[in-house]
Symmetry: C2
Subunit: 349 residues, 2 copies
């Protein structure tokens, strides 16, 4: 059955029934002109919006409708995580061609339902509309922030140490594998922890962000969506600083031999230029190193030291185990330019 | 110059420079992972999102880039108005083809700047992305609501009186004129108060909504976006009620003779089925009639009584000056169905 059969308001009722409202902070949820929420007393409010567009951010050839729903919400939750905040409420805007089946739309909603349940986020409203192009999902996530614990991109100072959470590069490897796979359609099961899962169903680092924020550890923070280098570039630009990175300290994924021949590049390439890891890249004061390590141990957080902040005029330098320093262009993904700084990398791979 | 030249981050910087941040409630504005705002103490928060898509909601043939910017924000502000709230902050998500000129993008931003200035709304963030289809603008508006003054769609009771603000139908007449015009491209000047201006640059009824909300006059309220009948249908459905409307009391636009022959229908058709008026449709308790009239006189609000709420099983009835009652299907615009209840209307025109 196509969604044209149930109509716009049938669709909204369908969404309403799939997302029961039991959040005490929601005064009025889905189905009116606007949602009403009660802001948490004394807290600041975080707001972020992001979009997932067919054939720009994903291709249906290697993405299920479930994945699209999951990821559309994940990218906005990750932005809240990158500020040190707790995601709380979601607005979901879906645009689909009229000839979309109700079943496929339900799959999108199940993806949204699963990730919102996992992160304790409540869907409070949104919008459904017809699209003449492909599927587009826009998400806006509202989050709470404890005063004094927010972390902007602009707070890094010379001498600060640079860290990342988790492993960097898996998502881009997953995408690369998906692009070269011929049997994706017949593989509905995506093993958890696989490169493909890392790409299609990222798990934003909300807990990590809050711990780094509330303990006043992170001086600057960003989620890695454009690639480690590009996102480091954003921190450097907004902090008027440069960075010195030890490439051998970047936590890279181990690539099994059977996959190696399917990948054009080594893991460092994907880590630096890939993006969509949704890990956190952050800086701390040098004196907080011990405290960070103690807190990470206590809380079971996996973080890795990868370099330090230097004066802005030095730009971004990467040093390899061979001791050779390379001045970097930040590269990374730019929607309108689509160039990536690939020059020096040939030498690394 | 195409926007591909300045890139995604050039674009964001361009937006930043056009929207200086001087709003005290904005702790962190454009350019980070998320915006941070300080919610007004003691107030509730309103959230609404809407989308404007090329060839679905507008065609570039009869719409300037300025109009697109203006209207994309207007539709979300109107949702806040329909709850009785004050719009405060805006997230703007723009998706455009790579071959969009910087000049055209600037026109969109000027439209956004003008309407946000008019309504005291601050742009705090958003998103820019490439589109493989046409131009799409998504807006999310956050508003403040004084406790106890919010008005949902669901609060109408049997016996309540039904009112509208302003004149209904002008926007659809404007659209109809635009569709049949051959010389739109050569007419950059749109006279204020014209049908075309009503369609392209609607002025949401924020002040009206707040007055109706804070004085606890409106029991149910909605903005007219789908058409008077469809939006009345939403109030009736969510209030489990029906409605009895006097068609001759609906405030209709006067159509000059020179335009009459260019329009296929009479003004009542456009009022009932047209939509995009962004006037408010609301109900009040019968006993509040005198108080409403006094407040409207004092505040200079133009409202018109058009009917009353009846039991749900009676559905929606319209009575003309001829005394003939007609049972209505709510019709109006449905994105996926695209049918409008046109049957009986032939008799009215």
């Amino acid at each position: 059955m196509y969604i044209g059969k149930i109509g716009e308001h049938g669709l909204i009722r369908r969404i309403q029934s799939k997302f029961p409202q039991k959040d005490q902070t929601v005064v009025l949820g889905i189905g009116d002109d606007a949602a009403i929420i009660k802001p948490a007393p004394g807290k600041l409010l975080l707001l972020s919006t992001d979009t997932l567009r067919e054939d720009i951010h994903f291709k249906k050839r290697y993405c299920t409708f479930y994945d699209i729903g999951w990821k559309a919400v994940a990218v906005s939750i990750s932005d809240i995580a990158a500020m040190g905040g707790m995601p709380r409420h979601l607005l979901l805007s879906i645009a689909v061609p009229r000839k979309t089946s109700v079943k496929d739309l339900d799959r999108v909603l199940t993806g949204v339902a699963d990730i919102t349940a996992k992160y304790g986020v409540t869907l409070i409203g949104g919008n459904v509309s017809r699209s003449k192009g492909g599927v587009t999902i826009d998400t806006t996530v509202m989050g709470e922030l404890t005063r004094g614990s927010g972390v902007a991109r602009s707070g890094a100072s010379i001498g600060d140490l640079i860290y990342v959470t988790g492993i960097i590069g898996s998502s881009a490897i997953g995408l690369s594998l998906l692009k070269t796979s011929s049997d994706i359609d017949s593989a509905p099961y995506i093993p958890k922890g696989s490169f493909v899962a890392d790409h299609l169903r990222p798990a934003p680092r909300v807990r990590e962000g809050i711990i780094l924020g509330t303990n006043r550890l992170a001086t600057a923070m960003i989620d890695i969506s454009d690639g480690l280098l590009a996102d480091l570039g954003h921190i450097c630009e907004q902090s008027n600083a440069g960075a010195y990175i030890h490439s051998h300290l970047i936590p890279l994924p181990k690539i099994p031999n059977r996959l190696k021949r399917r990948l054009a590049k080594g893991p460092l390439f994907y880590a630096l230029y890939g993006g969509e890891d949704y890990e956190l890249l952050f800086t701390i004061r040098r004196k907080d190193k011990g405290r960070l390590e103690a807190i990470c141990k206590r809380e079971g957080l996996k973080v890795a030291f990868i370099g330090e902040i230097v004066p802005g005029e030095k730009g971004i330098t990467i040093v390899g185990e061979d001791g050779v320093e390379r001045k970097m262009h930040t590269g990374g993904y730019d929607h309108f330019r689509n160039h990536r700084g690939k020059v020096w990398l040939e030498r690394f791979q």
